[in-house]
């Protein structure tokens, strides 16, 4: 396993958000992290990145995961946050350069997102939502990663762009394992081999993604969809 999480707990503003969450991420493919709004999916990713204080532990490729967020990035964990979070006042190139570490692979990201090469001098804030999402992904994918944490990459995107982003993630997943938070179950079905369902800050189910999505009773009871 590339990531083993044991008893992850997060308490924010006096509220328990995660209650002893334990799960593992295999060293290849996409693991979908799904659940209703407020289940704790984003909080889980933020805790793993060291962006939220937490109890419990996690090991990354056999080593205890600890330290500041930047240290976790340097260890090889790429994080694509929810809502893109690009620097709106900086150009596309400046956004990419700020996120570079080691020897970035610009050819890779321009191959995945040709539009970004043409828009290098454009302010990120003036990009469309789909282009901002591409930039958010490109900032991370230009570096060498051993694990990717990706939070709702298709949120607010037009259907055609959703398909494009899913295709990019599919290509990336061939070489880097991904822990993917995603509400669009069609995207989960296309990309994920395994799935983890959170409910009320607890792990409600783990198993194969198809086992979850093919079971109408299960998706109804865990995700409230189907039937």
């Amino acid at each position: 396993m590339i990531l083993d999480v044991a008893g992850l707990g997060v308490r924010l503003s006096g509220l328990d958000i995660l209650h002893g969450v334990s799960f593992s991420v295999p060293p290849s493919g996409v693991t979908a992290l799904v659940g209703r709004n407020g289940a704790g999916k984003t909080t889980t990713l933020r805790a793993l990145m060291g962006l939220s204080p937490y109890s419990g532990s996690a090991s990354f490729d056999g080593s205890v995961l600890s330290g500041r967020p930047d240290q976790r990035v340097l260890a090889g964990i790429g994080y694509v946050p929810e809502d893109r979070c690009v620097f709106a006042g900086l150009t596309v190139l400046e956004n990419l350069r700020l996120a570079e570490r080691g020897r970035p692979d610009h050819d890779l990201v321009y191959g995945l997102f040709p539009e970004l090469r043409d828009r290098g001098e454009q302010k990120a804030g003036s990009l469309s939502g789909g282009q901002q999402q591409m930039l958010s992904l490109a900032r991370v994918l230009q570096n060498t990663n051993r694990l990717l944490l990706v939070d709702e990459p298709t949120k607010g995107l037009a259907p055609r762009v959703v398909t494009s982003v899913a295709a990019v993630l599919e290509r990336v997943a061939a070489s880097v394992p991904i822990l993917l938070v995603e509400q669009n179950l069609a995207v989960v079905r296309r990309l994920a081999s395994s799935a983890l369902v959170l409910s009320g800050g607890r792990v409600a189910w783990t198993g194969g993604a198809d086992d979850l999505l093919d079971d109408a009773d299960l998706t109804k009871s865990l995700l409230g969809v189907g039937h």
Binding site: R36, N37, S128, E152, G156, L157, P159, R160, T163, Q183
Partner: protein, 249 residues
Amino acid sequence: MPVLSTDALTWRVGGVPIVDNVTIELREGEFLGVIGPNGAGKTSLFNLLSGLRPATSGRVHLRGEDITKLSPHQRARRGLGRTFQSSSVFGSLSVRDNVRLAVQARIGGSAQIWRRSTAYDEVVVKADACLATVGLLSRADAAAKALSHGEKRTLEIALLLAAEPAVMLLDEPMAGVASADVPGLVEVIRHVVAEGGRSVLMVEHHMDVILGLADRLAVMHHGALLACDTPGAVMADAEVQAAYLGEPL
């Protein structure tokens, strides 16, 4: 007469047309969906309609009145309300107080020292009525920040109702809402629209939702109106498929 209409509405930034010569009509009681690729100008169109951005040229009419030069609050007073793409509630206030503020903004007089003591009760009653309409009354005392994302989007509908709009502009109300919570929010919108006989313009990428609600669909591309027709006709349009829908997953 259409309840809301634009005539060659245009907004240019640095010479680049963001909204390009858009002429569109929203009929009384109609639900008009607005779709289009990211960056097509949908939210910018809403900004021009609600007065957040000044149009470079063209006109906006509400019930026949030219409102092109009116401020956002003047348009709101005339019955034009909107929600935003990103969730925008006061997290540290209770759900009820969020709506109460919106009711006070509508009826005015919050700074009057010598008000009748019952005036406050009236505001709370109105706020609770809005919350009941959207099904959030049981959460009235919770801090807004404690709501789930889907509940926050529902609260935004209640805030909109507090302004008693005849025309509602809804900007991607389903964005980020969990699949399980989408049907509930759709029902809230359906109920709110039917109850008030309201006219609605709604931007949404969730195709199942927009096809289930809209009487007609307007498609924007590169700032211009690519098509405006029944959902069936729009979905069958080859240009719309190429520009927006693309290949299925």
